[in-house]
């Protein structure tokens, strides 16, 4: 499957690579080496330069200066095509499948050698073979249009496509937060495939904000901070605490938060009452004022749909769903329904609050700027100027702007749809603190997430399965075992 020459164990070597975007220096002289038959874990805060570095490696961005050598040979005119020919594949954070084409047709895009009569069938077989190998029981058909797949299945196709081989060799696969839209089950399948792939001599660069994945699957770990590599050692040399410390997180530890006093439910007024559409019994999701309510279970089991219903109920209550105050939504898929790409950071923050920023009938530019600046400080958005376009920010910082938009608004209820996707651990801890502070001040949160760590911030958790609430866990009952048991529980 892979053609790795034992004589040359070095797959990729980057030397003193820099990349500037206007005044922003995203990479400040990076040296990086990837060995064959190894998994390299790459960690760092949002904006540390990980994604930029991977774009350079994949040939989609040209470095401002520095040297790239593949398989020991220096490349002077590096490009996407060349990277492909030399066996370097990349699964980017932003999914890159064409939504209007089928799974098989998307596979063909990467493999020009599949041609002639019956190419659809052959491309289909190639991708399904790969899916079978990586994600047994995936349930994806080659003829499905990509737009009809859930986000996690698209991610699975994207990953399987990167690992598929025709005539070009396959040496290195870059996985940029591959598990962020997968549930725990499929993430586990992927990581064990990565170990098999590496054992057969391939190489993988694994980027993840879930430190357990990095520590458990990497041979070597590279830590980036502010566009530079600050540590590169054997994985054995790290543990969670040291990784977090090396990344330069403001928090010394990422242990679960000190248990806030377990609230007795029902002492504050009910803010949200919602019942999933396919709920057969009369179970409601209930949120009292000042509570943080978790929505758990595997991804795509009706959590997002319920959040949207709660959001829509703010303009019109229904018999199944009622809310008692304005609702704001923090989207997880920030490209689709989060950011306004043509706008500045400040405009993206204030759009939910324009009515409150008016003086008379007009929006006051002074008050608008003041609100944006206030939230930049409170949530730590890393940008020299809030007038810069939102797309000049890294993914995690864009997400911070979306949090600022919701938390700065008049909404007393905030619903969050897997909001920490692609957010680094330092930012996460800051946002956890912020959310708990806001809840203590009387805001109500509904929080859909697949991460146990995030659920531990919740006062109460509802577990979803096949579009229904199957378990209702108080904070004291929330353990990983409980959660997994409930997630697998099948309703009659």
């Amino acid at each position: 499957m892979t053609s790795v020459t034992a004589a040359n164990p070095e797959v990729v070597r980057l030397a003193a690579v820099t990349k500037n975007f206007g005044a922003v220096r995203a990479l400040a002289g990076v040296d990086l080496m990837v060995d064959s038959g190894a998994c390299l874990g790459l960690v760092g805060h949002n904006g540390a330069g990980k994604s930029t570095l991977m774009h350079v490696l994949a040939g989609t961005l040209l470095p401002s200066s520095g040297e790239i050598a593949i398989g020991g040979a220096r490349q002077d005119s590096y490009s996407v095509t060349l990277a492909q020919q030399l066996g370097i594949r990349c699964v980017f954070q932003e999914l890159s499948l064409c939504p209007n084409l089928t799974v098989a047709e998307n596979t063909r895009i990467l493999h020009p050698s599949i041609r002639g009569i019956g190419w659809r069938r052959r491309a289909g077989r190639l991708i399904i073979d790969r899916l079978d190998a990586i994600f047994p029981g995936h349930g994806i058909a080659a003829e499905t249009i990509v737009a009809d797949l859930s986000i996690s299945r698209r991610q699975m196709v994207e990953i399987a496509r990167a690992f598929s081989v025709t005539d070009a060799p396959l040496k290195l696969v870059i996985l940029d937060e591959p598990t962020s839209s997968l549930d725990a089950d499929t993430a586990g399948q992927l990581l064990s495939f990565v170990r098999r792939f590496v054992a057969e001599g391939g190489s993988v660069i694994l980027i993840s904000h879930i430190l357990g994945e990095i520590l458990g699957n990497s041979d070597r770990i590279v830590v980036m901070r502010d566009g530079q590599v600050v540590a590169s050692e054997q994985a054995k040399a790290f543990d969670r605490a040291r990784l977090v410390e090396t990344m330069g997180s403001t928090h010394a530890t990422d242990q679960p938060p000190p248990a806030t006093l377990a609230q007795n439910r029902g002492q504050t007024p009910i803010m949200v009452r919602a019942r999933p559409k396919s709920q057969a019994d009369r179970t409601d999701l209930v949120a009292h004022q000042g509570e943080i309510i978790g929505l758990a279970g595997f991804s795509g089991h009706g959590q997002t749909e319920l959040l949207i219903e709660v959001f829509d109920a703010a303009s019109r209550n229904t018999t199944r769903t009622t809310v008692a105050a304005p609702v704001a939504l923090v989207a997880g898929d920030r490209q689709t329904d989060g950011v306004f790409p043509l706008w500045s950071i400040a405009e993206n923050i204030t759009i939910r609050s324009l009515a409150a920023l008016r003086r008379g009938m007009l929006i006051s530019p002074t008050r608008e700027a003041a609100m944006a600046e206030d939230w930049k400080q409170r949530i730590g958005i890393r940008s020299p100027n809030l007038g810069n376009p939102i797309l000049s920010l890294s993914g995690g910082n864009q997400q911070k702007a979306l949090f600022a938009r919701a938390l700065g608004s008049d909404a007393r209820i905030v619903v969050m749809d897997d909001p920490m996707r692609g957010v680094d651990i330092g930012t996460k801890l800051d946002v956890y603190d912020l959310i708990r502070g806001e809840a203590a001040a009387g805001r109500t949160f509904l929080w859909y997430t697949t991460e146990l760590e995030e659920l531990q911030n919740c006062d109460h958790v509802y577990v979803f399965r096949h579009g229904r609430i199957v378990a209702d866990l108080g904070r004291a009952d929330l353990t990983e075992q409980q959660l997994i048991r409930a997630s697998f529980q099948d309703v009659a």
């Binding site: 500037n20 206007g22 005044a23 922003v24 220096r25 995203a26 400040a28 904006g47 540390a48 330069g49 502010d226 566009g227 959001f311 703010a314 304005p326 609702v327 704001a328 939504l329 989207a331 689709t336 329904d337 989060g338 950011v339 306004f340 790409p341 043509l342 706008w343 405009e347 759009i351 939910r352 324009l354 009515a355 008016r358 009938m361 007009l362 929006i363 890393r382 940008s383 020299p384 376009p389 938009r405 608004s409 909404a411």
Partner: protein
Amino acid sequence: MTEEIVPAAPPRHGVLKLFATQIELRMLLLTLAVMLVLAISSPYFRTLNNLLNAMDQSVVVGLVALGQTLVILIGGIDLAVGSLVGVTGIVLGLCFPSLGLYGAVAACLVTGAVAGTISGAITTFGRVAPFVVTLGMMSIGRSLAYVLSGATSISAIPPALGDLSSLTIFGVPLNFTLLIIVYLLAWWFLSRAKGGRTLYAIGSNNAAARVAGLSISIWSVLAYTISGLMAAVSAIFLTSRVLSIDPLAGTGLELDSIAAVVIGGASLFGGRGSIIGTLFGVFIMVFIRNGLNLLGVSPYWQGTAIGSIIIAAVLLERIVSSRARR
């Protein structure tokens, strides 16, 4: 990465930077350049009389282009405006005998607004492409103009309506003054009011606008309502100029208005554009038509000239604004 910012280069040339970032200033410059070229090539162009004439000519297309700008900002397009000028003008002419001057004007405005609202509601709630809906509305409008008028022009217009075009304020025609006032109102609305920001939001990212809690359905329809209303206003000014209305009135205005918006720097994909840019787009088109007439260029060549200007202006805008964003 606050710590890693390379010291930002100070704006090298203050004025140049201003021109690079402000599309309105670039358009002003382009308009002045066009005027300068025409003033040099034709002595008559320089006369006050001709300037007043050009102002007068910019009113009808300018009013239509204002509504068109709002529709294009939300990522739509309104092909019906030209035929709406025709049908609302006929309504105006037919209503004078029974409803009087003010009643007829009101009937004309209501007709335009209702027709626009129908287009907007079908594209927004029926999820039909605006190109298709307004193409249909364009055909319906022109057809109704013929049916209602019996395919003849109406000349029984109260002379009082002519005041709109003949009166002047301190030497400036009243109709042109009103045009500038509505543009200033629209500019104020788009840049500083919540509704204006909502229109930009819809064009920039519809799904995100919904999630941000903006009233996207209402404003998506209102853009077309205003466009229809502006077509009716335009019909009133057109009628006041010649004190007669024809079922063919407004033919081609949909393309002229789209051209003005595009020359003014708006993106047909929505979310990007400026009302002041559109106003300069109108001036550029009017001046060039006017200038070519004065220079004795055959009217058959004017289409080629205007077409080239559209393409050149948009190409220039792309180059300049992509440089500015670097």
